[in-house]
C-alpha cells in the first residue's frame, strides 16, 4: 500500500465521518416545540424544517417522561444489561415460567418485578403477567384469603404498570375489569366482596379513602373504567379493542352493582336509585359518538329508534302516493310464480321438505318489494321522482338502523336498556324482594313462608307484565329464563311441601313462552 493511497483512504474516511456526524447532529437536535414542515415554509428552509427525532418524540408522546414515571432502578438495570435487555427479559421470562410451574410464588413475584424493570413500556408484559397473577396463580391456592391476596397482587402489578405508562387505557381498563369481574363473578364472590370491603390497607395503599360501605367491587371497578374512558377521550389509542365493548363496561358495572345489591338483599329506594342511575348511564353510553369499523360513518347506539321512526314516516308517505301499489306488485309477482314455487310457498312450514324450504325462501325474496321498486312503479314523473327520493331516504334510514343494531347486539344494548327501565319499577323491586325472602326462608327451612313470599313475588311480576309501558317484556328471553329459574325454585318448595303446582299460576303465559327453552338448557325432561 503506497503512502498516497493510504492518505486518500484516510481523507475519504474523514469525510464520511464528518458527513455522518452532521446528519446525526441534525437528527438529534433538541425539539423546537414545533413539528417542522407544518409551518408551511417553502424552499430549502421548509425542507430543513423536517421534524427531527426530538420533535417526533414530542408529537407521538414517546419520550420516557411522557410515557410515565421514570424508574431509576429500571433505568439502572437497563444500563447494566449492556444492550442485552431483550435477552435478559427473555431469560427472566423463562425463569418466571419455571417458578410458576414449581409454585415458587416468592421468586415468581420478584422475577416479574425484574422483567417489568427491563421492559417498562411493553404493555403486553404488564397485562399478561398481571393476568397470570390474578387469574392463574391465585387459583393455585386453596385458602380463599390467599386467592384474594393474589388477585390484589395482580391489580397492584397493573397499577405499577400504569405509573410507567400513564397514557395506556387498557392497563387502566384491566384494573377495572379485575376489580369488577374477577372479584364480582368468582365462585368466591361473597368472600371476595367482603374481603375487599374490609381491606383498609389496600385502599390506603391505593390512595382511595372512600368509606368501607362504598367499597363495592363494582363501583370501584366502575371508577377505573371511567378513568380509562377519560384517557381515550383525551386521545389515547384503543389499539385493537372494540370501542363499543370498551365503553360499555362502565355502565355495565353499574348494572352489575344493582344486581349485586339485590343479591345482598338490598331493595326499595337504594336499589331503585341504583337502577335509575344505571338507566341514565346506559343512555349516556348510547349517546356516545362511535365510528363504524371501517372508520367512515359516525353513529350513536341510541339512534336506532330515531332512524326506524324516520324510515317508517318516509315509507308511510311513499305508500300514500299510490295506496295499495305494493300489494299489487306483490300479487303480480305471486301470479308469475311457477306451480312448484307456489306450492312450496303456500305449504305450512312444518310440512315443507328440504327442497321446498329452499324454494319458499327464494319466493320470499322474489315477493319482497323494495321501496325503490315501489317508487319506480308509481305513475307520473313528478310523483315518481318524489317517491324515489323518499324511497332512497327510507332505505338509508333502514340501513343505518340495521347497522347500529349490529353494534347494539355486541353489547346486548336493548336488553340492558329495558332491564334498567323495568327493574326500577315498584312492581319489579317488590317482586325481587319477595323472591329473595322466599329463597332465604327456603334455606332456613321455613317452607310456609317461602311459598308465601314466592307467590307474592309472582303476583308482582304479573302486575309488571300487565303494565302498558312494557308491552314486549314477557317476550324477553333472558328475563324469561331468569323467571323460569325462580319458578323452578318455587316448584322445589311445593315439592317439599307436598303441594301441587297451581293451575291458576299467574305467569302461565310466561311458562308457555319460556319453559321449554329452560328445560332444554337444564336438561330437564
Amino acid at each position: 500500500m503506497n503512502p498516497q493511497r493510504s492518505f486518500v483512504r484516510k481523507i475519504v474516511y474523514l469525510v464520511a465521518l464528518v458527513g455522518l456526524l452532521l446528519v446525526l447532529s441534525w437528527l438529534g437536535q433538541p425539539s423546537t416545540g414545533d413539528a417542522g414542515g407544518e409551518r408551511g415554509e417553502e424552499g430549502i428552509s421548509g425542507l430543513l424544517r423536517v421534524p427531527n427525532l426530538a420533535d417526533l418524540r414530542n408529537r407521538y408522546h414517546l419520550s420516557e417522561t411522557q410515557l410515565g414515571e421514570i424508574d431509576p432502578a429500571g433505568s439502572t438495570i437497563k444500563l447494566a444489561t449492556l444492550g442485552l435487555r431483550g435477552v435478559a427479559a427473555n431469560v427472566l421470562w423463562e425463569k418466571a415460567n419455571n417458578y410458576k410451574m414449581k409454585k415458587d410464588w416468592t421468586n415468581l413475584s420478584a422475577t416479574l418485578q425484574q422483567i417489568t424493570r427491563l421492559e417498562p413500556h411493553f404493555v403486553s408484559v404488564w397485562r399478561f403477567q398481571a393476568w397470570n397473577l390474578s387469574y392463574n396463580v391465585s387459583t393455585e391456592f386453596d385458602d380463599y384469603r390467599e386467592r384474594y391476596r393474589w388477585v390484589i397482587k395482580g391489580i397492584d402489578f397493573l397499577r405499577e404498570g400504569i405509573r410507567r405508562n400513564e397514557r395506556e387505557p387498557m392497563l387502566v381498563w384491566d384494573v377495572g375489569w379485575y376489580l369488577s369481574h374477577k372479584i364480582g363473578v368468582a365462585d368466591e364472590v361473597k368472600q371476595f366482596r367482603r374481603l375487599l370491603k374490609e381491606d383498609d390497607e389496600t385502599f390506603q395503599r391505593w390512595g382511595d379513602f372512600r368509606p368501607a360501605e362504598e367499597r363495592d367491587n363494582w363501583l370501584v371497578g366502575k371508577d377505573w373504567f371511567a378513568r380509562a374512558e377519560e384517557l381515550v377521550d383525551k386521545g389515547a389509542d384503543l389499539r385493537k379493542t372494540t370501542p363499543t365493548v370498551f365503553f360499555s363496561h362502565r355502565p355495565m358495572s353499574q348494572m352489575n352493582y344493582c344486581e349485586a345489591l339485590e343479591k345482598d338483599g338490598i331493595f326499595e329506594e337504594r336499589a331503585r336509585y341504583a337502577w335509575n342511575r344505571a338507566g341514565k348511564e346506559w343512555f349516556e353510553f348510547g349517546a356516545r359518538h362511535f365510528m363504524t369499523a371501517d372508520g367512515k360513518r359516525p353513529f350513536h347506539l341510541n339512534d336506532v329508534e330515531r332512524f326506524d321512526g324516520d324510515a317508517a314516516k318516509d315509507v308511510a308517505t311513499l305508500e300514500a302516493i299510490e295506496p295499495g301499489l305494493r300489494d299489487k306488485i306483490r300479487k303480480q309477482r305471486y301470479d308469475s310464480l311457477t306451480a312448484a314455487e307456489r306450492k312450496a310457498y303456500d305449504a305450512p312450514p312444518q310440512k315443507r321438505s328440504g327442497r321446498e324450504w329452499e324454494l319458499a325462501y327464494q319466493v320470499q325474496e322474489k315477493l319482497k318489494v323494495t321501496h325503490e321498486q315501489l317508487a319506480r312503479a308509481i305513475k307520473g314523473q313528478k310523483a315518481r321522482d318524489a317517491a324515489l327520493k323518499l324511497a332512497r331516504e327510507a332505505t338509508d334510514f333502514e340501513r343505518k338502523a340495521t347497522e347500529i343494531r349490529t353494534y347494539r347486539n355486541i353489547v346486548n344494548f336493548e336488553y340492558w336498556r329495558r332491564r334498567a327501565q323495568f327493574e326500577q319499577s315498584p312492581e319489579a323491586l317488590a317482586a325481587r324482594k319477595y323472591v329473595y325472602e322466599g329463597a332465604q326462608a327456603m334455606s332456613a327451612g321455613d317452607l310456609l313462608k317461602a311459598r308465601e313470599m314466592y307467590e307474592k313475588g309472582f303476583a308482582q311480576w304479573r302486575l309488571l307484565f300487565d303494565r302498558k309501558d312494557f308491552p314486549e317484556l314477557k317476550n324477553d328471553e333472558a328475563l324469561g329464563q331468569d323467571l323460569m329459574e325462580i319458578v323452578y325454585q318455587y316448584r322445589r318448595v311445593l315439592d317439599k311441601s307436598d303441594k301441587p303446582f297451581p293451575k291458576d299460576f299467574p305467569l302461565n303465559d310466561l311458562l308457555q313462552l319460556h319453559e321449554k327453552a329452560y328445560k332444554d338448557r337444564q336438561g330437564i325432561k
Partner: protein
Amino acid sequence: MVIENVLPPFSEWIRGAALSWLFVVACLTIGALVLGGFVLIVRYGPVAGTRYAVRAFFGCISDLAFMSPRRVWALSKLAVKESIRRRVVAVFAVFILILLFAGWFLDVGSSDPAKLYLSFVITATTYLVLLLALFLSAFSLPADIRNRTIQTVVTKPVRASEIVLGRIVGFTIVGTVLLVIMSAVSYVFVIRGLAHTHEVVMESLKPVGTAPPGQPRPRAGYTDSAQGHRHKVYIDSSGMGHVDSEFGHWHEIEARQGGEGYVLGGPEGMLLARVPVYGKLRFRDNKGSDVDKGINVGDEWFYRSFIQGGSPAAAIWTFPNVREGKFPEELPVEMSIEVFRTYKGEIEKGVIGSLSVRNPRTGLIAEVDVFESKDFVPILINIPRKITKFSSADVIASKRETPEGVEYSPPQNMLDRRLADRKEFDLFKDFVADGELAIWLRCLEPSQYFGAGQPDLWLHAADARFTTNFVKGYFGIWLQMVLVIGFGVMFSTFLSGPVAMLATVGAMVGGFFSDFLTRLSQGTVLGGGPFESIIRLVRQENMLTELEPGLRTTAAKMADVVAEGGLRVIAAILPPFTNFNYADWVAYGFDISWDPWIWVPTVRALAFLIPVFVAGFFFLKTREVAQ
C-alpha cells in the same frame, strides 16, 4: 422446600461415585496418552515421538508426585499479591453499591421477605464472586506469558504443577477472604432489612368470646402496618397477648411497663434452620394397594403426586432411625402439602385430612390427628409420646401387586387385631419397629385431593443455629468459586486471556444449565435436539407438533443423535453448579446437613478439581515441551 434430586447418604453414595470417577479418569487418562502419543509420533517420527511421549509421561508423574508445598505456598502468595494489585477490592465496592440500592429492586410487599432477602444476598454474592474468580483466573497466566513475567518464575526450579496449583490456591485465598467479608455484610444486611416491629392499634381491640366470672373478656384487634403487613392480636382474659403469624413471622407481645398498651418485639420465626429428617415416600391407591406414584391431577410438574380423598388412598412416609433419644417427648411432624379440589365445596374451610402412625412390622395404625389443610404453608403436628387421643385404631396389612400375586406386609395370617383394642398407645413401643416408623397422610373429603412430594413431610428433629446455616450456604458459593478458578486457570494455561475467559464462561453456563443439557442429551426436551430446533425456529413451528416427514427431518434427527452424544459428554464433564447452590435451604429455613448435603458436593467438587488441575498442569507442561 422443593428438593428435586434427593441425595443418598454419603456412605451409600461414595462407593458408586468413586468407582465411576475412577473409571472416567482412567478412560480420560488413557485417551489423553494415546492422543498425545499419536500427535508426538506424527510430529517427530515414531522413534523420537515415542521417546518424547515416554519422557513427558514420566515427567508428568514426577512433577505431580514431587510437588513442594513450600513452593506452592510461595506461588500462592504471589497470586494473592497480583490479585491485590489488580484491585480486586473493586468487587467488594460493587457489592456494597448493590446492597445500598437493593431496596429499589426488592419487593417490599413480598409475603415472605426473609426468603426474598436471603435469596437476593446469596444470588448477588454468587454472581459477583464467580465473576471475580473468572477474571482473576482467566487472565492471570496469559498476562504473565504475554508480558514474559512468567520467565521470572519458570527460570527457577519450579514445576508446572506447582505454578498451576499455586495460582489456584492463591486465587482461592483471595476469593475466600472477599467471600467472608461479603457474607458478614450480607448477614447484617438481612438482619437489618428484616428488623421491624409494630404498635398495637388500641382502638381496634374489641371484646370477643366469653370470660370466667370477674375477669375481662378477651379482646382481638390488629397492629399497625409495617413493611406491607399487619398482624392480628389477641389478648386473653389474663392480659397475655398473642400475635398471629403473618408473612412467615410473628412477634412477642407484652404489656407496656407502667402504662397502657402493649409492646411488640422484633420478628420471630423468620430466620430459621430447621433440622429435617426425611423419610421415603410411597403411595397407596384408592383400592388400598401400594404404588410408587400417586395420581396426576393434570399438573405440568410431576414433583408431587396426589391421593384421592374419601378413599383408602394415602401418602406414606417411612422414616428410619426414629429413636427415643432424638424425640423424647413428642414427635414433631411438619408438612407442606398441596390441595386440589374438584369442586369448591365449603370455600371458607380447608379440606380435612388426617395423619396416622403405623407400625411397619405389626400393621397397627392409629389416626392421631385430623386437621384442616392449608396449602403451601407448613403445618406442624406434634404426636405425643403417650397417644391417648386418636380417631381410630386398627391393624392393617399393606399390599402390593406383583407379577407373582398380591404381597401383604405383614402377612394376613400374622395380623393381630387385638393390638388395636386399647385406649392408649406408646409411640415408640407400639409404632416404631427397629427404628422404623410409617406416617400416613390421608384426605378425608371425597372428590378432593392432597398432593405431596417426598420432602413435603419431615420430622422436625431440632433447630440448628441460623448463623451456622448461613455460613454453610456461603460454603456452597465457595465450592462454586473454587471450581471456576480451577477451570479458569486450566483454560488459561493454553488459551489467551479473553478466549480463556469465554471458555470458562461457557463451562459456567453449561454447569448452570447442566440439568437442561442432560435432558437435551437424553432427548426428553420438547422440540427435539439442536438441528430440529433450528428447523422449528426458522419455520416458526411450535414444539409439540411433529415435523413433516421427509429428507430434511430425517437428516436433522440423525444430526441430533450425534449432537446429543456430544452434549452428553459435555454435560458429564461440566460441574453441575446448581448442585452447589444452597440458597433455597437458607431461604426456606432448613439446616444444610453435613451428610449428605455438604460432604457429597464437596467430594464432587474435588472430583472435578483434580482432573482439571491435572489437565491444566499437562497443558502448561506441553507448552514448555513445545518451546
